[in-house]
Symmetry: C2
Subunit: 285 residues, 2 copies
Amino acid sequence: MGMMGASLALALRKSSQFEGRVFGAVRSQKSADYIRSTDLCDEVHVVSSGREAREHFDSLPESSLIVIGVPVASAVSLLGDLRGIQHLVTDMSSTRAEVEKASAGVRFVGSHPICGSEDTGPQAARPGLFETRLCIITPSPESRNEDIQVVSDFWKDLGMNVMSMTAPEHDRILAYLSHAPHVISGLMAHWGMSDAVAEAVRKSPVPLTGGGFRDMVRIAGSNPEMWLDIIRTNRREVIGSLETFQKYLADTIGLLKGDDEQKMMEWLRSARLKRNRLCGYPDDK
Amino acid sequence: MGMMGASLALALRKSSQFEGRVFGAVRSQKSADYIRSTDLCDEVHVVSSGREAREHFDSLPESSLIVIGVPVASAVSLLGDLRGIQHLVTDMSSTRAEVEKASAGVRFVGSHPICGSEDTGPQAARPGLFETRLCIITPSPESRNEDIQVVSDFWKDLGMNVMSMTAPEHDRILAYLSHAPHVISGLMAHWGMSDAVAEAVRKSPVPLTGGGFRDMVRIAGSNPEMWLDIIRTNRREVIGSLETFQKYLADTIGLLKGDDEQKMMEWLRSARLKRNRLCGYPDDK
């Protein structure tokens, strides 16, 4: 149980929809002590491996829903140990394809509640983390209808908006709207310090960057370990979306070279409209 | 006098360093009425053309500093009418090359106080707009040393940090750190609504975009008229910086294709460090 798992425990214990018990499994004694001292779960167990986790899960009531809340690479490995388990399993991973592949032989419906944060560990738990946010569930062809319903209702009862799509759809869309933008933000930081600019940046008495640039490189400051995990487990789609971006960039440079005032104005106006649609703002914002 | 000019008048009248009088020239009777009713200037004149502005300026005390605060294209045209004027002239334009070219025959030292805002008109004036912000002055080979000093001190007395560079340097650096990022932000809005994603964006019960993407497309919502003016008057440098960006993008796609975990981690860590240096944050932020 990291930040997401602990937030989930908190939200469940606060929810009027949920009448069951919350069992937590953590890897360190320190996390277990913290969870006990703050009464985050009804029970907490320390498990030092996937096999120990499996043994613990096997002892839980059959109607339990197991929610995996670990980094993608660890979720993939843990699912291997859960093959043949009786319980319904879901997860909270940011990329889906590798997790779905690893879930073969597990009674599984994948979930991606989109509400991460830079903060880590159970100490960073927030009970309202899931409320009003979006959860994408990614049933596989093997998922049973009644299990899909259980997982969907589970998130809805926590106040989430639930949307269903396939794992490949999920990974493509998130590549565009989340993973590749992280790469582009990092790219802008590298480019903003390229030879043509670096000396002036160093010489300036105050930062040369305005609010626009600053906003665009904000996520270049994200946790590198977490993002390497996400980018590597969705590498093909991230590359694909960046290659599309590359085409758009070439077209835009062509537009600027053409210097057609009216076309450039249309491009700027349409960018503003699309940005409003993407962010859920009114058209005239 | 738009937002910038009116903010300048307010700041001057508030400043303990400035003992002179503030004369304003505006194009509309409505703006003049507003400026009179709010006592923004000691005197305000309505001028309907560059020639009328010139006649008005000729009548001002010889020691006056004339500060042009109009869109770049209008500044270029106005400077043509000021050829041979006795007074020292500066401006507040966001791009420098075309303004510098137009200043031939004018006693001129260019300025770019970096403190724009989306709000327009004298009603949006703020007295503290210039404080602690950066002003780049761009003396030309023709600028006299004593005039450079006057213009530099003028902005320093308003609490600005002043940095001097040539007009071409200015336009290159601002292309990277301000103008091209606006283009990239708009590009991301177009790309974020491309075929691979648009349907999911429309179907989602809540906006699919997280905080990262949202920050990166914020400036795609900027005033299109203003940005078209800026991009067109610095088109060569904007194209040049985007072509460098294109090379960085190709290299980054190559890095992802290589899938060398250590190299990718170094790239992410170094992006974070460069972003901190660019924004003036501590290295470990």
